[in-house]
């Protein structure tokens, strides 16, 4: 510490040693916290016997079996039957036949993944659209009881999802929205809109009112000024908000498992049900998990500057 006072820079600038020590611990933590993810990623490239071998295999021959099993369904066949089939078509066919099985068809992973995409995009679009209008209104106009309304919007996020699902389940049954993409989009929109309003209100608050006022003096109507001036200014905020909404819809499990059974089921309730012959097909689970997590990891890196704001409902701005 004595070194700090003799160096040239500010007193609050940490010393080189303390930087090095801090760096060591932070990097150590980062590496430890990445280990489970690395393990799942690696499991996706193992064969089923390797994935459950004891002791766990750190070094292994990579295999496509996990990814093949993720995308296909297979049936066991006799050797004679398989030999009569002729040469295997493609890598997956080959891997499957080595286990005395043939590919029977496609698994449900792709349809469930597409459901996730449709529901995430649809609900994000709706939530952000509704959110940006409301946020503008709350930011710029005197709305009676505005604080109460805002708190009401936020409080909808405090309900345990299962508690929300009980009446929604009954309501959707009456309306025929059970197991439908539309039902899930509306529900996720309702949950996300609170986040969207809060975040966007913060972003719009930061856009100086003078911009619109100038535009309005130039003859724009309020509505026009909103579209031509405010929206472009808020573009970054809208994008960040959209990604946060999307991540919620992408990751959500409780509603999806209770309110969908097949047609509109998303990936999170599906991935835990990937099984092979007998027990869990861990390589296929590893593969499915990896593909499902990649978009989120990318978003995390893209979003890192806005992350804090997003996860605290805009309570902390920077």
């Amino acid at each position: 510490m004595s070194g700090a006072s003799t160096t040239a820079h500010s007193v609050v600038e940490p010393s080189a040693t303390s930087k090095r020590v801090a760096g060591f611990f932070v990097i150590l933590y980062a590496l430890i916290s990445m280990a489970p993810l690395a393990w799942i990623f690696a499991t996706g490239w193992k064969t089923p016997p390797d994935s459950i071998s004891y002791p766990p295999k750190v070094v292994f021959d990579p295999s496509l079996e996990g990814y093949c099993n993720l995308f296909t369904t297979r049936t066991r066949q006799t050797n004679e039957y398989i030999e009569a089939l002729g040469p295997p078509q493609g890598a997956c066919d080959e891997v499957t036949r080595r286990r005395e099985m043939v590919i029977a068809g496609q698994s449900n992973y792709v349809p469930r993944f597409i459901n996730s995409l449709i529901i995430a995009f649809g609900s994000t679009f709706l939530a952000v659209s509704l959110g940006v209008f409301s946020a503008y209104a709350f930011s710029r106009f005197k709305i009676p009881l505005a604080d109460d309304l805002l708190f009401f919007i936020l409080s909808t996020r405090m309900m345990p999802p299962i508690a929300v699902a009980i009446p929604i389940y009954l309501m959707y049954r009456e309306l025929g929205l059970s197991d439908s993409a539309l039902g899930m989009i509306l529900l996720y929109t309702a949950v996300n809109v609170s986040l969207a309003v809060w975040l966007l209100k913060g972003f719009i608050d930061e856009i100086p009112r003078e911009y619109e006022e100038a535009a309005m003096i130039d003859g724009y109507t309020r509505l026009h000024a909103f579209f031509k001036v405010v929206l472009p200014q808020a573009a970054t905020g809208i994008a960040a908000t959209a990604i946060f909404c999307m991540i919620f819809a992408w990751n959500e499990y409780a509603f999806a498992v209770l309110l969908t059974s097949g047609e509109a089921q998303t990936a999170p309730p599906f991935i835990p049900t990937i099984i092979g012959e007998g027990g869990m097909d861990w390589p296929a689970v590893g593969a499915g998990t990896t593909l499902f997590l990649i978009p989120i990891v990318v978003f995390t890196i893209v979003l890192r500057k806005h992350l804090l704001r997003g996860i605290t409902f805009g309570a902390v701005r920077k």
Partner: protein, 328 residues
């Protein structure tokens, strides 16, 4: 384009000019439609769709839940006559030992996860704030777990916790020498509550870290410089400046984590399913079992209302405390 005045000349000249310019800038159809809109009506127009959606998907169902909580309705028995049972479910729930066990398990989970996440998260933030080379990159890496789907996380940790084949026991045995199959994180009554705490801490410590980091960075340099001039020890600086100034942020993180973990369902459901026995059966899992496995809709509605009141009540009390700290 040639301007065609739309307003009568009797109006104020200034207004007249603005209005006409506006009319030129807007396609005529739209301009006619919106000119009449006062700010007030725009405000309501903008807020209304959101409110309608929330009324339809949040408030109306909530009221319905309150109604159901006074009936014997079971959603898998649509033909059974619905009778009013008054406060029976509320009495049953508040006097049921199983519910209290679940509430205790939830409290245990919430308490320890918050404690660990705050300690580790704050320490990490403090270290990251040393601004060592590459700190931005490593911070981003650390943040990844909290962005993942809790259900998928629970599912793959189930694999990591397998006694013989899983990574966790193997690593523990590597460092401690215990045989990996000598303990069962998910199967033992004593270890399972800690197994879910470990996963939640792994996942959400970055969250607390990020908020704490914002807190540390909000402390103005001049205060620390003044302390340095006063020759206050590092230790003293930490306790009398850094910590108090970051406290509102830490409390905010605790609030958010507290609410989230009180609602915890997906990660634990997939990790332990509430087992072994009922040792990790958190309130939300009990609620799910009652509502969507036993289909005791009336009973579970009452439980849902009780849970909602508890979260809401605790959060309100806490926010008051938070505001007091902020005002200091």
């Amino acid at each position: 384009m040639q301007e065609t005045p739309v307003f009568p000349a009797s109006q104020n000249a200034n207004n007249y000019a603005i209005a006409n310019r506006a009319a030129a800038a807007t396609p005529t159809g739209v301009s006619k439609a919106v000119r009449g809109l006062s700010d007030r009506s725009i405000a309501w127009l903008f807020v209304a769709p959101t409110m309608i959606l929330l009324l339809a998907i949040n408030i109306f169902p909530l009221i319905w839940t309150v109604y159901l909580s006074f009936t014997n309705y079971a959603s898998n028995r649509p033909n059974r006559p619905v009778i009013n049972v008054g406060l029976k479910w509320y009495r049953d729930i508040l006097s049921s030992p199983e519910i209290w066990t679940a509430m205790q398990a939830t409290a245990h989970f919430v308490f320890w996860t918050i404690l660990f996440q705050t300690l580790i998260g704050f320490s990490l933030a403090y270290l990251v704030d040393r601004k060592f080379r590459g700190h931005a990159f490593w911070t981003t890496i650390i943040l990844i777990p909290m962005m993942l789907s809790p259900a998928v996380v629970g599912n793959f940790w189930k694999f990591l916790y397998q006694p013989q084949i899983g990574l966790f026991n193997y690593v523990v045995s590597f460092f401690t020498g215990l045989p990996p199959s000598s303990f069962e994180m998910l199967g033992s009554v004593t270890l399972a509550p800690w197994a879910i705490i470990i996963v939640d801490t792994w996942m959400w410590t970055p969250y607390v870290m990020l908020i704490c980091l914002a807190g540390l960075r909000s402390i103005p340099d001049y205060i620390l410089e003044a302390a340095e001039v006063d020759r206050a020890s590092r230790w003293r600086q930490f306790w009398s400046i850094t910590l108090p100034m970051a406290l509102p942020f830490i409390m905010l993180a605790v609030l958010f984590r507290g609410i989230e973990n009180f609602k915890m369902f997906d990660m634990v459901m997939l990790l332990t399913g509430g087992g072994p026995g009922s040792t990790t059966e958190l309130a939300s899992i009990t609620l799910k079992r009652a509502a969507f496995e036993a289909y005791r809709t009336g009973y579970s509605s009452a439980f849902a209302i009780i849970l909602f009141v508890v979260v809401f009540g605790l959060a309100n009390v806490y926010v008051k405390a938070l505001n007091k700290v902020k005002q200091r």
